[in-house]
Every structure is written in C-alpha cells, then in structure tokens.
C-alpha cells in the first residue's frame, strides 16, 4: 500500500469505513437477489443472506483493521507502547527530553536570530529588488553626487537617499532628543509604502534648501509620544527650534530601511540646515547621505545596475576630479548596513548556527548511545518478541516511535522555552541611547525549522540501535539465556565513537567560549589610547537648541567653565566627536609639497577630531611630545594640529621628525603639527593602527558637543550635577550623560552577545557530555558488576577495580577532549572575527579547557565509581 494512501487513510477513516460498508452491503444484496431468484420469499432470502454472511460487524472491523494497518490505530498502539516503556524508566525519559529540549531550544533561538538578521526581508513591498549602493566599501555619498546618481542612472525605478541623525524635538512640553531619518523627498514613494494616517512628503515638495518643513512620524513614536492621536496631522512642532508640520504617520510595520535601527520620525533631507545646523548639501566633497537605496527596475540584473552606476561614477570622476578618486559601485542589501555589519554578523551567525547544530548533534549522539544501551538491555525482550513471531520491522517501528515521541516532547519544550526567551530578547533595548530594537520573535520559518530539527534528531538517535536489533539472533539468545554484554569490552563500537564525537564537540564549545571570554576581557582592558576610569561623557548637539555661528563656541566655553566649577571635577575636555564614539569622521591629507589635491594623491586618510585645549588631559590621552592646544589656537591664529604616531609615520616616515612640520588638507590649507600623541582605537576595537589628527575646535567650530569629564568623584554621582548645571545654562538643550565606559557599549555589544551565546552553548555542551559520560560509565559499571565482584573477591585493589570499571570512559573522554581542543584552536580564526583578541592558543584557555574537561569527567564518573567500589562480591555471587 502506498505511503500516500496510508496517510490519506489516516485522515479519511470515515470514508474508508463507509466504502467497506457499501461493499459488504452489496455482497448481502446480491445474495438476497440470488435467493429470491431461486424461489425464496423476500424475508426468507434476507434472513438466509444475513445468516450466511455471519457477523457483519466483526467482518467490517477486521477489514477496516487490515486497511488501517500501519496507520492511525496501530500508530496509536505504538505510541501507547512507547509511553509505557518510557514510564518504566522515568529517569531515562526525563534525561532524554531535557537534553533534547536544551539542544532544540538553543537551535531555535539561534535560528530565530539568524532568521531575523539575515533571512527575513525588510518590511517593504518587493524587498527582494531593494538594494543599497556601496562604493569602495562605503555607503556614504555627498548630496550632489546622490542627485547625479539619481538622475543619471537607468537601472533604478527611483533612487532614494537618507541620513541617520539626531534632533531635538519640542512639542510644547520638555524638549527631547529623537533619532531621525533625513530622507530624500522620494523616499516613501521609492519604497512604495503608504501612510497609516495623513500623508507622506514627496519629491515635488523639494523646492530648494529648507523648502519642506515637514515631518512624518514613525508609528511606534506616534503611539509612545503622541498617544496615537489621530488628529496629529497638521500639528506644528519644533525641530531644533524650527517649526515643522506633522504630515502623517508611517505604517505600523515600517521601521525605516536599516534593520533594528528604528527612527522616531522622518524629515526631508533638503531641510538639513534647520535640522542639523549645518548645510553640507551644496558641497560635493562632504558626505551627507548615509545610504542610497532603490528598487531595481524589472528585468535589470545586479551586474547591469553596477555597470550603469559605474558609468555615472566615471562621469563624476572626470567632472569633479578634485573631489573624487575612483568611484566604483557595488550593490548590497540595506538590512544590516551592507557588509559593514552584514559580513561579520553573517560569519558569526553561520558559525553560531554550526555550533548550535553541533550541540544538537552531540545531544543526538548522547541519546543515540542511551538508546543503544537500552536496546542492549532489552536484547532478551527483543529476542523473545522475535521468537514469538513479531517482525523486526515492527520492533524497529516501536523503537522509532519511542525516539520520535521523546524528540517531539523535547522539541516542544525547547521551542516553548525559546519563544519565551526570544520574546524577552525582542522587548529588550540594549542601548538606552540608540533606537535599537532586536525584533527576533519566531515566525513560521522558525517553527518549521524547529519541527524539522525535532523529527530529524528523533530519527537520527532512533536509528543508532537499528543494527543491533537487526543482528539479534533470537534462538541464540533465548537458548544461551543471556543477552550478551552489549558492548564488547575491547573493540570500539558505535557508541564509543558517538561519545567521542560528542565530547569533542563539547570541548570545542568550551574552548570557544573560554577563548571568547578571555578575548572580551582583554578587549575591555586593552589600550584604547584614552582612559575610561572616572570619566563621564556628555553628548549633545548645540544645533538642537538652535545655536549657530559664533554662538556655538561661546556656549561651548560657558559649558566647559560651568562643568569645571562642579566640585570634584579635575578637567573637562570638549570634542566634536570622540574616539570609539557614535561615528567617526575622516578626511584626506596631503604632503606639504603636493600641489595636486585629488584624493588619489592623498598621503593618508586620518580620523579627524576637533577638540578643546584640555581634551587630552581630560580624556587621559598622553601627549608624547610638543604642546597641547591653548585658548590662543583660535580662528586668528595659524592653523595647527596634534597628530598620532601612525599619522606621523605615514607622512614623515617616523614620529620625531613630524613635530613642527606642515601638511595640507584637501582645500589646500597648510597645517603645522605642534604635538604628538600615542596611537589609539578610533572606529572599532579590532582596527589596525590608524592615523588620526586632532584640530583645535576654536579653529574649526562644530555644534556637535561631546564633553569628557575627569573627576575624582564616583562618576555615577557626578551625572545629576552635570545635568542640573547644564539645565541652568539652557533648559532647551537635550543631553545624554553616561560614563565613558558605558559609551563603549555599542562597540562591545557584538562581542558581548557573541561571548554570552558561546558561554550558553559551552555550558550546554558541558552538560551534554557530562550526561554522556555518566550514562556510559553507569552502564558499563552495571553491566560488569559481576565481573568487578569477582575481581574484588580475587583481591583486586580499589584502583584496579576503578580502572576496570571506568578506564574506558576516561579514555574516551581524553580522546574526545583532545580532538575538541584541536578543533577549538582551528576555529579560533573564525572566533577572532567577532570577538577581538579571542584566541584558543592562550595557555590560560588551554589549561582551563583541560581542567574543565577533567572536572566534568570526575563529576560524571563519581556515582558510577562509588557504585563500582561498593560492590559486595559475596552478595553478587549469591544472586546468581
């Protein structure tokens, strides 16, 4: 009978029975017809037919049961049998279910995250044709370049651009800081979405600079900050003290075009000046656009689009040689900021999925060997059933039913747990300062994957004892009266191999998690080029309170003075952006002798920080030689800079030669180097030494204001006094205050999450292999109790007994651990990709892994060892 029909029968029992009834009825009817034809009366004919037919009900039942063979009824029988078997050994059942629940839960969580990060498309129509533009690894463009690309390309339906920024929003109550998207007018139309209420702004609203004072609220922000007021449309609010009209609210599921980074509202990019206090829209060299995205036209391939974009790039290179070097484009998915976050996340998630899969495999190996041991214990029972005429197929079916039942129970428990965990994770906002929402709730993909994993693992570990059952020779076993020892004591069998594999996986997980922890610890204490201890950081943008022009430096001076006046404060430094802060700015610099200031001629591309005179002191960045800035380094004084060693090395060959020398910026300004500071980390913890230059903020003013405060007092206590001091200066200025250390949160988020996930997997691996070793040791001790008793009776020492009982388990543990350690060292490279400075070649990690595995071994064999030692030869002998 075909499988399809069998499955169909499961769902159509009623139909099948009806069919049988019809068939039997027609049989009886034909008999009646014949009886009447042979001269009987109708009643007589009927009576005779029924009599001859016998018990119709029982016939029907027996036909139905034939039809249902291998279907629902017998399946139910198998399930009941399996439940009975499991209830007879509850510890086995619990161990198995918990093991699987953990493994499948871990897989469901990792897969959910992977799904949310990499598989689930952005919530816009036709997300599959939405691409972001990247050039030389960067997404940013100047606004003018964007306009040229938008108008000259022939591949995109409509090319939209946006920039991520912060702005102060004043709705009449307390001004608050909001994360915004500054978008091109065509943004919503290019994405093809419709507003939830009101309307969006369009390209037609762009009539030159500051021509479109409109905002569109994100749905969540409308709910949280405007109580989902339906009459919000048309209301005027202040953005950085400029009046803007609320046009509408974006649809509920739309969170911008960057994964997890949920903006509060959207404003037209043409109003950049009002929103950010600077106007970079007319400068071709200034990167204003963060990302350019658009839907490819139907039928246009990625390759064609890139060729098309590159031809526009070539035009830009030729037309504006001063501003552009090579301009070659690639397309990427906007979700995870292209390859910036996408590539490491992809690599890490793939690695993590692999590890989670390995954990599941280890769990399967574990359960497989438990099942094999059980099957070995039940050899006699199996033999008996075989001898009594049960088919091997049926016995295997019972075994598989048991395995699948366990895997389903474990899978359900695991999935349940993971849903709770994921729900927590989705509600969690890791950074108070950033609008990051990790929406990783499971969807249909996740449920399907979990079910698949569950069934596959059930069949996987259920399949381990197959050979054993197939090889069982009922007559031999029944005749000889013993079930054999299951595992032969010398040869390695499948269970040993499974255990070794499982322990190797566990050791790999333990190695990776220890290496990650060590790496993270080292990252936290590595030399950033500045101090984090006793440092507070205050972050604001004066343009949010509408400070422009000369009012900016004046206000910054007042802020510095005021904060300096707080008791306990040692020094206060100010910068437009800080190393390892929210964003990094870089610029081309040229040798003093260079006249051709095209970017292809640049001598270096250092990070740029504009800082106040006391910045180095406050930040704890040691000045190696030369002088710090002073209040005299202002607009009237010659341009000066302080550079780091790497900068000096790139431009002048060595650091000492740099002091007093000159270099040029891309607009031709000559700058003299007056000081030298040590190298640090500027954009990421994993970067190689990078050149950096510090400019006096008085010479190049900026409304962006980071205040680094060094104090003797506990920084946490200092926070409120800084806030109240600033509130007195300007109550309309939204500020963020945090410790310098917690300012690194965003950078450390990835490594931290990675480390936590690895620790969890490591713990699970450790638990799994402990269960595995325990099972193996306990089984071998109980199998060999008699032999151990005889040994003891013959005068064996405790040590010898232990060796006989557990030697094998310990040997397997050592082999597995060694293999896992080697794998861990090999995997270190992948690990270092995510967790900076993570390496398994660290002696502390190596020693730690060996110790952990040894402890696991001792813990897991403790109980079986006690049992082996407590063997009383006499009583054992008597039993038999």
């Amino acid at each position: 009978m075909s499988l399809v029909r069998r499955i169909a029968n499961l769902f159509s029992r009623a139909r099948v029975e009806h069919d049988i009834d019809l068939e039997l009825e027609s049989h009886i009817a034909m008999r009646i017809d014949d009886n009447i034809a042979s001269g009987m009366s109708a009643a007589e004919a009927r009576r005779d037919a029924l009599l001859r037919f016998g018990n119709a009900t029982s016939t029907r039942e027996s036909v139905a049961s034939t039809e249902m063979a291998l279907s629902l009824d017998s399946l139910w029988f198998d399930v009941r049998y399996a439940v009975r078997q499991l209830r007879r050994s509850p510890w086995f059942a619990i161990t198995a279910v918990v093991t699987l629940a953990l493994a499948i839960g871990a897989n469901a969580v990792v897969f959910s995250v992977l799904n949310a990060f990499l598989l689930r498309p952005l919530n816009v129509p036709h997300a599959e044709s939405l691409y972001a533009l990247f050039h030389q690894g960067d997404a940013g463009l100047s606004y003018l370049d964007y306009l040229d690309l938008r108008d000259r390309n022939r591949s995109f339906e409509s090319l939209a651009a946006y920039n991520v920024a912060q702005a102060g929003l004043d709705t009449g109550k307390e001004p608050s800081r909001a994360w915004i998207y500054e978008t091109s007018g065509n943004y919503f139309d290019a994405l093809g979405i419709l507003p939830s209420i009101g309307q969006f702004f369009h390209s037609s609203d762009e009539q030159g600079l500051n021509s479109a004072p409109y905002i569109v609220l994100a749905y969540a922000y409308w709910q949280s900050h405007f109580q989902a007021d339906p009459k919000i449309v048309g209301r005027v609010v202040l953005v950085n003290k400029h009046p803007f009209t609320i046009l509408g609210v974006a649809p509920a599921g739309f969170h911008g075009t960057l994964l997890f980074f949920n903006p509060d509202f959207f404003v037209p990019l043409v109003n950049l000046q009002e929103v950010q206090g600077v106007n970079n829209l007319t400068a071709r060299g200034k990167t204003t656009v963060f990302m350019t995205i658009g839907h490819l036209k139907p039928g246009v391939t990625q390759t064609q689009a890139v060729t098309d974009l590159n031809s526009v790039g070539l035009y830009l290179e030729k037309t504006y040689p001063k501003e552009h070097g090579k301009f070659t484009f690639t397309l990427g998915l906007p979700n995870l900021y292209g390859d910036y976050i996408g590539r490491p996340v992809k690599a890490f998630m793939t690695g993590l999925m692999l590890l989670a899969g390995l954990t599941l495999l280890a769990a399967c190996a574990n359960l497989g060997s438990l099942f094999a041991a059980r099957a070995a214990d039940r050899t006699r029972e199996v033999a008996l059933r075989l001898a009594l005429g049960s088919s091997r197929k049926r016995i295997l079916r019972a075994l598989f039913t048991e395995a699948v039942l366990i895997s389903l129970l474990g899978g359900a428990a695991g999935l349940g747990g993971s849903i709770v965990l994921l729900h927590e994770l989705s509600a969690w906002q890791p950074f108070s300062r950033w609008p990051i929402h990790l929406t990783v709730n499971p969807d249909a993909n996740v449920y399907a994957a979990a079910l698949l994993l569950t069934l596959v693992s059930g069949f996987l570990f259920g399949a381990v004892p197959i050979r054993q059952v197939l090889r069982t020779n009922p007559y031999e076993i029944v005749k000889s009266g013993h079930a054999g020892t299951g595992a032969s004591p010398r040869r390695f069998n499948i269970r040993d191999i499974l255990l070794v594999v499982q322990i190797a996986v566990c050791a790999l997980l333990v190695t990776s998690s220890m290496a990650a922890v060590r790496g993270l610890a080292r990252s936290l204490h590595s030399d950033f080029g500045f101090e984090t201890e006793n440092r507070m950081m205050l972050d604001t943008d004066l343009s949010m309170a509408n400070y422009t022009g000369d009012r900016v430096p004046a206000m910054q001076k007042r802020i510095i003075e005021a904060v300096k006046g707080i008791p306990g404060v040692e020094s206060v430094g100010l910068a437009d952006t800080v190393p390892l802060g929210d964003g990094s700015i870089d610029a081309n610099v040229f040798a003093d002798t260079t006249a051709d200031l095209r970017s292809s001629n640049a001598a270096a591309d250092p990070y740029v920080f504009k800082v106040s005179s006391d910045y180095f002191d406050a930040a704890g960045t040691p000045l190696l030689s030369g002088r710090a800035f002073s209040a005299h380094d202002d607009k009237n004084a010659p341009r000066v800079a302080i550079v780091n060693r790497e900068f000096a090395r790139r431009l002048f060959g060595s650091a000492p030669q740099a002091l007093g020398r000159y270099y040029k910026t891309s607009d031709g300004t000559r700058i003299q180097i007056v000081g030298l500071v040590q190298d640090g980390k500027y954009a990421s913890l994993t970067e190689d030494p990078a050149p950096a230059m510090f400019l006096p903020i008085l010479q190049v003013p900026s409304s962006q204001t980071y205040l680094v405060v060094h104090s003797k007092r506990d920084p946490i206590q200092l926070g409120p006094s800084i806030r109240s001091t600033l509130l007195k200066l300007d109550s309309g200025l939204p500020v963020e205050i945090q410790t310098r250390y917690s300012g690194l949160d965003a950078l450390l988020f990835g490594p931290r999450m990675a480390t936590i996930s690895l620790i969890v997997l490591g713990l699970m691996g450790a638990m799994l292999s402990m269960i595995g070793i325990f099972g193996m040791a306990a089984y071998s001790v109980s199998k060999r109790l008699r032999e151990l008793g005889i040994r003891m009776a013959l005068g064996a020492q405790r040590r010898e007994v232990l060796q006989a009982a557990l030697g094998r388990s310990i040997k397997l543990l050592s082999i597995g651990s060694a293999a896992g350690l080697v794998l861990g060292i090999l995997a270190g490279r992948v690990l270092a990709y995510v967790v900076d400075q993570a390496t398994a070649r660290d002696p502390l990690v190596l020693a730690g892994v060996v110790m952990i595995m040894a402890i696991l071994g001792v813990l897991a064999t403790w109980v079986p060892a006690q049992r082996a030692l407590s063997v009383e030869p006499i009583s054992l002998m008597r039993e038999n």
Binding site: M1, D19, I20, L22, E23, L24, S26, H27, A29, M30, R31, D33, R52, F53, G54, N55, S58, T59, S62, V63, S65, T66, E67, A69
Partner: protein
C-alpha cells in the same frame, strides 16, 4: 499457525479465481469457488474481505466500483502483474506441498 496456512490457501484460491474469471466482486468469488470446487470449499465472508483488502494493499489485486448485471453497485477486483507473479509462486509451492503430502500418505 493453522489459520495462517488457511490464509495462504485462501489467497491462492482468490488469485486463481481472478486469473480465471478476470474481473469479479467478492460475492462472485465466493460463488465461483463454491461452484468450481463442486461445493467442497466454502469461503467465509468473514475471512474473504480482510484477505481481499490485504491483497489489495500488497498490490496483488486492484479494485474499482462498477455495476453488476442486475444494476447493483459492487466493488470489482482484478489481478495485477504482481498478483499474477504471486499466483505462479503460490501455485508452485502448492504443488510442492501436495506432492509432499501425497508422498507421505503413500509411504509404507
């Protein structure tokens, strides 16, 4: 065991009947066996129908609903290729069995 043996011969009888008559319903099979064996063999409906369904699952026979000469709906069975092969094997082993039994009966 005994029942199993009978089941084996029932299968043989049914397969043989279908091979001789082509398409036939359950009632027709009962009648045919009865008549062809000169009323010596009587097939019980209680055994026949489970056997028919089992053989159908084994793909030895196939079934379809059709009208009888008296215009009743009945389920007709016919032999499949696999059934024909099975019949040959069953016939062969039946011959062996008969030969064996005959040899024993004639021994002495």
């Amino acid at each position: 065991m005994a029942r199993n043996d009978f089941q084996g011969s029932l299968d043989l009888l049914v397969l043989k009947t279908l091979s001789q008559t082509g398409k036939l319903h359950g009632y027709g099979i009962v009648l045919h066996i009865q008549r062809a064996s000169d009323e010596l063999l009587r097939v019980e409906e209680g055994s026949l129908y489970p056997a028919l369904h089992r053989m159908e699952q084994s793909k030895w026979i196939s079934s379809e609903w059709a009208l009888t000469e008296t215009n009743r709906k009945a389920k007709y069975y016919k032999l499949t290729a696999a059934g024909r092969k099975q019949l040959q094997e069953a016939e062969a082993s039946f011959e062996q069995l008969v030969k064996g039994i005959r040899a024993i009966m004639q021994f002495a």
